[in-house]
């Protein structure tokens, strides 16, 4: 990989820029997008950087066209991405379903902002956490990662591309307005030290009539365009050869389940969490920028003698239910911090049915959880 794409070194960088740099380091060579606050810097950085590394950025007429162009470029063999915020994701959801159904590797960055509807563009809200899981119609599994630092904005974007390539599926990076505009230190390793995954490709000279290119739980090789595979790619119900079948319910049964099982079977490879539950009776569960508040509160609480720990969800989807259950078995109570009205807390409670799970939104939606405010909530339940 050309070193030009990888900004090896120590940087003081904005989250959105780190996200774009992560994409470039991962091998992204096509991006399409539409201006939207607070995600615009991702597109601006990619527009500036892609041509010099042989890539292309296109500003499309809307977000629907942006994700469509990304999927088209992915079938043309490229690693491709788009970055937007809630309103843009709402527009993209049909085509994100298309990417799922056609097993197209691509990355979608959602720099979450205050909603519903147009809301407040520049204020953070973790309002779009369930959306990737259930937003597009039909039954499916999605992968979504939630960075909680600028370094992770870089690292998780690389990881998102790797997972997209490995599992031939769209992968979300759920950033937010705080994180996207926050500046922190980022260390970009030398190009050769960043693990990079590449999609399994169809063998040369083979066409899709003779070798399955779809619906394999262990991920079928991708019959990308332009190499004579004569691929038939449809998001309508199809068989392992890509042949459309819109007549048989039994074909639909296979279509839906194979796509679903492809992610479920490999969830252990995908899910990443972190925790510090040393001596803890109460654990603060968080993700994204809110995790930083939780981590700071744990440090402050421990200093005053509270038996506190933290649990970070790096992966939101597939949901780390097994890992939550293990953590819940070690503590007496879980407090789930989210900058919303309670989205993942229900999944946490379902994963830990015998544990007392509390939900803690910030005092004012869209603002950070203050440490004093968190500790006050902790003291209420601390044994």
């Amino acid at each position: 990989m050309s070193n030009r794409a990888v900004l090896t070194g120590r940087h003081f960088m904005m989250g959105n820029i780190a996200c774009a740099e992560g994409a470039l380091a991962a091998g992204c060579r096509f991006a399409a997008g539409y201006p939207i606050t607070p995600a615009t810097e991702v597109a601006e950085r990619l527009a500036e950087r892609l041509p010099a590394v042989g890539g292309t950025f296109l500003q499309m007429e809307d977000e629907i066209a942006s994700i469509a162009a990304v999927i088209g470029a992915a079938w043309g063999g490229m690693k491709a991405m788009t970055a937007t915020s809630g309103p843009g994701i709402s527009l993209m959801l049909e085509n994100i379903g298309f990417a799922l159904g056609t097993e197209t590797p691509c990355v979608i960055v959602n720099v979450m902002r205050g909603g519903p509807t147009t809301g407040i563009p520049s204020v953070e809200l973790q309002g779009d956490v369930i959306q990737p899981r259930r937003g597009s119609h039909g039954d499916y599994q999605i992968i979504a990662l939630a960075p909680s630092s600028v370094q992770e904005s870089f690292d998780y974007t690389v990881e998102a591309f790797n997972l997209a390539e490995r599992f031939r599926t769209p992968v979300f990076v759920l950033s937010d307005a705080f994180l996207g505009h926050m500046r922190e230190e980022v260390i970009v390793p030398p190009a050769g030290q960043i693990p990079i995954a590449e999609r399994k490709r169809f063998p040369a000279g083979v066409d899709v009539e003779t070798l399955p290119g779809f619906l394999d739980e262990d991920v079928a090789p991708m019959p990308i365009f332009g190499e004579g595979h004569k691929s038939h790619v449809t998001s309508s119900c199809h068989d392992a050869y890509g042949r459309r079948n819109v007549i048989d319910a039994s074909a639909l049964d296979v279509f839906v389940k194979k796509l679903n099982d492809k992610i479920v079977k490999h969830r252990d490879e995908i899910v990443r969490v972190a925790s510090d539950l040393e001596g803890a009776e109460v654990a603060l569960v968080g993700y994204g920028s809110v995790f930083r508040c939780a981590q700071a509160a744990v440090e402050a609480g421990r200093a005053e003698g509270l038996r506190l720990g933290w649990f970070k969800l790096g992966t939101i989807w597939p949901f780390p239910d097994k890992e939550i259950a293990e953590a819940a078995a070690r503590v007496k109570r879980l407090i789930v911090l989210e900058n919303n009205l309670g989205q993942l807390v229900h999944y946490v409670q379902a994963a830990a049915p015998r544990c007392e799970v509390r939900f803690l939104p910030p005092r004012v939606l869209g603002e950070l959880h203050e440490i004093d405010y968190i500790l006050k909530a902790v003291r209420e339940v601390h044994p």
Partner: protein, 276 residues
């Protein structure tokens, strides 16, 4: 060659597993499919030189799954947007979009005009049957004023698009219109469209005897083709006619054929400079 071993001269272009057609008897899709394949063959090109992209609707099923080539069958209205990404990733392949008037001008109208404005090199064949055929004959943006359809039971209250004028206005390099009554002219025009370096748009009025012919009273497939013949007037003749005389006529011919900067080439130049 005995009759029993006779194979259609274009059969070699058809995907082996595509054994059946979903088209109704008398549909114009067959004429369109042959026009496209003959144009490609006539230019000495192979299907592997192309990536075909289609949306949702009857016309989208012309390349998908029938053409034995790379085919992307997309969501409704979006084929041109998908095709834009494909062309950017594979600049040396020819990209052809085949879709209907509903797909390309109603739900997908925004992508159509912006692709024409960008002047990205691709051929777009718009099959205009004047109605939503696949879903059972609902009004389309191309349905004539006053026509009774299942969703305009009291007559269509809206004016139809002149699609070719729309794409011309949006800045395409090449714009032409024919009907399925003009297969030879259509084939020649598609050849030109494929060779055009820029956004090339060919509108083909195509008979839908089941949903359009019946509702309008124009009749079956043959009657619809005769109707196209009677209504069509070439661009050269139309230029000498008054607007009154042209009302309810179908002007056919090549409306635009100009050279202007093409997007993918311009981007390649920017890339070359940036990489230097």
């Amino acid at each position: 060659m005995s009759l029993t071993t006779f194979e259609h001269p274009l059969a070699k272009y058809i995907r082996p597993s595509a054994k059946k057609t979903a088209n109704c008897p008398g549909c114009g899709n067959g004429i369109l499919a042959q026009g496209i394949l003959r144009a490609i063959e006539g230019l000495g090109l192979a299907l592997d030189d192309f990536v075909f992209v289609s949306g949702i609707g009857c016309a989208a099923w012309i390349p998908s799954p029938s053409f034995f080539a790379d085919v992307l069958h997309t969501t409704h209205g979006r084929p041109i947007a998908f095709a834009t990404g494909i062309k950017a990733a594979l600049p040396h392949k020819r990209v052809m979009v085949v879709s209907g008037d509903g797909d390309l001008t109603a739900i997908g109208g925004n992508h159509l005009i912006h692709a024409a404005r960008r002047n990205i090199a691709m051929t777009v064949i718009c099959v205009n049957n004047g109605i939503y055929g696949m879903t059972g004959g609902q009004v389309a943006p191309t349905t004539p004023l006053g026509l009774t359809t299942v969703t305009t039971p009291f007559g269509n209250a809206e004016n139809p698009f002149d699609i070719s004028e729309l794409v011309k206005g949006a800045g395409a390099s090449f714009v032409a219109r024919w009907t399925t009554y003009h297969p030879r002219q259509m084939e020649k025009t598609i050849k030109k469209a494929i060779q055009k370096k820029g956004f090339a748009f060919v509108e083909v009025l195509s008979q839908c005897p089941v949903e359009f012919g019946r509702k309008t009273g124009i009749g079956n497939s043959v009657q619809m083709l005769e109707w196209y013949k009677a209504k069509s007037v070439t661009l050269a003749r139309a230029q000498g006619m008054q607007p009154e005389e042209l009302r309810d006529r179908i002007v056919v011919g090549e409306f635009v054929d100009v050279d202007k900067p093409e997007l993918i080439e311009t981007l390649a130049a920017i890339r070359a400079k940036a990489m230097a």
